[in-house]
Subunit: 203 residues, 2 copies
Amino acid sequence: MDKPSFRERVLVAREQAIVEAANRLLAEKGFDLMTVDEVAAQVGIAKASLYKHFSSKESLAAAAMVRLMDRALAFVAEREALDPAPAPLDQLKAVARWSMEVQMAGEMPSLPAQNSSLRAELTGRADYLDRLFELSDRIGAWVEAAQAAGALNPQLPPEVVLYTVYARACDPVLAVLRQAGSASSEQIIDWVLASCFDGLAAR
Amino acid sequence: MDKPSFRERVLVAREQAIVEAANRLLAEKGFDLMTVDEVAAQVGIAKASLYKHFSSKESLAAAAMVRLMDRALAFVAEREALDPAPAPLDQLKAVARWSMEVQMAGEMPSLPAQNSSLRAELTGRADYLDRLFELSDRIGAWVEAAQAAGALNPQLPPEVVLYTVYARACDPVLAVLRQAGSASSEQIIDWVLASCFDGLAAR
DNA sequence: GTCTATAGAAAGATAGAC
DNA sequence: GTCTATCTTTCTATAGAC
């Protein structure tokens, strides 16, 4: 590992700025409505310069997803390092809460599941898939542990629990409640978290 | 009310065919990726002819939403007419199940919440808003009744319950589980319904 | 690598004949 | 009202100078 030169560090910093701008715009407008012009404008460079760093709009979105996975993996690692270790069910609640906080902060990129060119890019990128699989492994371990401890609804298979936790990241209820305007972001997240883990029905 | 002429009935039937095609394509690809050309092609008419019926892509999507609201109101009316009347909580479960069935059947139009021209069209159309408010009133009445009966999680305000039920219509967990391929649509819906009302945590 | 300028393609919307 | 043909705009992507 050579020490990176000044030039290289500037380059990396610029790429980070591009990805962060893309991430914000993906959260705000979604993939289809985000334009590469806007991203370049936010970074303060020309569109042609952006295309020297990322070969397509899809690869730019994929880079934003890789960054999101890295943030998620870092959060999970933090939680795994806690001593004493929290109960697995609490770990699941924590990661669900974290993803909702990211969404509420306007930092959760929203990609249409239907867009095939985007799907092709994501499923063809090992850096993204590796992170996604590792994240699923780690959260999946919490699911199994919680199930073994009898803390999870025994009706539900592990994948259902995993995907339901993932889905909090794009839960539209957050935005609707915020637009209604009668509660704080924290209160809204508490409500959605309670409905997710405790259910709508009385206990 | 004059009896509609043959010509008029043909016209109405054609508009229905257009809206149904748009509805399917909205479900399949979403608003941004659906093209007016495709809709026209599916109906078997020229794009210019479609624009004689609907003044814009947005108004076409709005017509699909009005149709969806009518279907939902019809379902709710059916459930209200049952004798003996089901428990309010079961009514809520029934409408959540219905909306998931519509999604699984590929008939749930998916509109991006972020698109402002589309939002402007929807919030400017009394025919859509009237139906949405009426639907919310009726389902809201079930929520209140269920709450009064002590059947709902007392932590949650009524709007949270209402929006959480609505959100099942676009729950991405359904599509992910179906793509995983290991369960029937009916089984998947049962799981998601259980996680929604009973929660992920054990009782 | 960054810029300006532009090519190329897609899609919403319309003109005008019938 | 329906068609073919076209306009217009928007956006992705690239060419070519520096």
